[in-house]
C-alpha cells in the first residue's frame, strides 16, 4: 500500500492542475546562478508562448543578476525534467509539451559572474 494505514486509503492531490483556474505551474531555474535562492515558481497560462514567458516573466525576474545583460536567449541550453530539450519559442507552452509543474532549466556556458575568481 502506498501509505501506512489501517485500511485502504486514497489521498487527494492538493496541487493538481484543475485547482489553478485554467493556469498551470512552471518551475524555472538558471543553473549556477544562485543569487536566486531557489527555482522560481510561475503560475501561467498554457496558451502563452515560450517567448512571452521569457519576455514577460523571466527577463524581469533575472534582471538582478549581473549576467542578465549578457544572456543571449538564442544561444542557451535548455533542460526539461533534467533532460536536454529545445523549445520552439514562438509556440505555446502546451505545444512545447511544458506540462503542469514541469521544471525548466537554463544553462549558459561561460556566465558565472557571482562566483569568486578564487
Amino acid at each position: 500500500m502506498a501509505v501506512s494505514a489501517i485500511k485502504e486509503y486514497v489521498g487527494v492531490a492538493r496541487d493538481s492542475l484543475e485547482k489553478f483556474n485554467g493556469k498551470q505551474l512552471v518551475y524555472f531555474s538558471w543553473d549556477h546562478h544562485l543569487l536566486f535562492a531557489a527555482p522560481f515558481l510561475l503560475c501561467v497560462e498554457p496558451q502563452m508562448t515560450v517567448q512571452q514567458l521569457i519576455d514577460g516573466a523571466l527577463v524581469p525576474l533575472l534582471q538582478a543578476d549581473p549576467d542578465a545583460a549578457s544572456l543571449d536567449w538564442s544561444q542557451v541550453e535548455w533542460l526539461k525534467s533534467n533532460q536536454p530539450w529545445r523549445p520552439e519559442l514562438q509556440r505555446s507552452l502546451a505545444d512545447n509539451g511544458i506540462g503542469h509543474k514541469d521544471q525548466i532549466r537554463l544553462r549558459t556556458a561561460g556566465l558565472n559572474s557571482l562566483q569568486s575568481a578564487a
Partner: protein, 507 residues
Amino acid sequence: MDMKAGKKKLGLKEKYRLLTRDLGWDSSYHSKEEIFPYANYEGIKIHDWEQWEDPFRLTMDAYWKYQGEKERKFYAIIDAHAQNNGHLNITDARYLSALKIFLQAISPGEYTAHKGFARVGREFPGVGTQVACQMQAIDEIRHAQTQIHAMSNYNQFYNGFHAFSDSRDRIWYTSVARSFFDDAMSAGPFEFMLAIGFSFEYVLTNLLFVPFMSGAAYNGDMATVTFGFSAQSDEARHMTLGLECIKFMLEQDPDNLPIVQAWIDKWFWRGFRVLGLVSTMMDYMLPKRVMSWREAWNVYGEENGGALFRDLARYGIRAPKGWSDAGKAIDHMSHQLMLGLYQWSFGTAFHSWIPSDEDMDWLSAKYPQTFDKYYRPRWDHLKKLAAAGTPFKNFGLAKLCQTCQMPVVFTEPDDPTLLCHREGVYKGDKYHFCSDHCQEIFDREPEKYIQAWLPMPALFQDPLNGDIGAWMNWVNLHDGVDNGDYAGSQDQHNFEQWRRMATSNPS
C-alpha cells in the same frame, strides 16, 4: 464505621506500582484489538508490554509537585523581566528575529506534540507507556504555554509577534516545522514515538535548544533563558522515554529492525531540514553569536549523534541514510537559506538584513572553505543593489519540496554551485524534492504526501489566486511593519530610541 488507617506511608516502589502498572486491567466486554485498534497496523510486533521500563518511575503526585514548583519560579522571573524592562536588555532588536521564528514555528510544535502524546498515550496497550506519554503530553502543553507567555512581553513592544498562530498555520517558512509535526501526527503511535520521542527529542533537541537557549543568554534575553531552564528537566525525561521506546521495539522482535531503521532514516532527515532554520539563526541572526552552526554540528551532531548510533549498532541499527549528505551540507546550509530569507523577506513576519563587514569576516573565519568562495560574492552584490536604492526582492517566489516543504535552496551534495533538482511522477502528477532523501520519504508513502498543503502553490489557488496583498491580510502580516529589512524598520527605530532614553538624557 471508621476506616482503618494504613500502617505507614507507601514505599516508592510500591507507590509506583499502584499508581502506574496497577491502573491497567484486562477487558472482558471487548477484545484487546477493539480497544487498541492502532497498535498493530504499522507492523511493529510487541510480545510483552510488561518489559517496558520507565527509568524515571515518576508517579503523578510527584509529577504535579515538581511541575508546580517550576511554574512558580518561572512566573516569578517572567514578572521580574517585565518590571525591569527586559525588552531593552537584549543586545539589539535583530536578536528578535530568532525569537519570532521560534514562536511562529517551534512553540506551536510543542502544542502539537502535546496532542500527539495525549493520543498515543491512549493508543499504546502498555500501561507503563500510557502513563509516561500522559506526563509528556502535559509537559508539552506546559512548554507551549510558558514559551508563549515568555515571549508575550516582547509583543507589547516589537512587531511580528502578534499573530504567531496565523503564521504557524498560513505563512510559508513555518510549514517546514508544521509539516514535520503533521507528518508525525498522522502516523501510527510507534512512528510518532520515534519521530518526536527519538528523532526530535533525542537526536536533534541539543541542536535546537542548546544553541537557542545559549543564544538567548548571550543576547540578554532572560525570559527565554527561563523557559529553557524550566523545560530542561522535562527534556531529560523525554529523551530517556524516546530512547527507551526505540530499545523496547528493537528488543521485542527482530522483525521490528527494518521498520525502525526506515523511520530513523526518515525522521533524521526531516529533522535535519527543520534545523536549516536553526542554522540561519546561529550564523546570521544573533547579534552576539554563541558558536557557528558548523561548531554546533561538530559537538552535537558528529560527536553526540555518532556516539548514539555506535551504541545502537548492537541492535543492528546503522547511522541514518542521510548522515553523510548532512555532513556535506553543514558548511553551506545556513548561507543558502539565509540568502533566501533575505530575498523573500517581503513575505516573512521577521526581519532579515545583509550581514555587516564584521559579520562577514566572522563568517569567513568560521567557514574558511566556503564563505568567501561561494557566499560573500552574493552578499556583496546584494549590498551593492541595496546601496543603489534597488534592494533585491525575489518576487519569483520559490519552488518547495513536496516532503519537507523547504524552498528548494539546497545544492547538490557534491556541487555547491548547482541547486539540487529532483522530481518524480505519481498517478500522472509531477512532484519535486530538495534531495534524494526527501524523495525517498515521498516514494514510501506517496498517498500521504500528495495531500501536503504547500504554501506557495496554494497562493495561486482559490481564493487568493496570486494576490500578494490579500495573502498578507490572510496570514496577518503587516506590510512595511513586520516584514522586510531590519535596516530602517520600526523595530530598529524603537529599540534604539528606547535604549537611548534608558541609558542617557536625550534632549
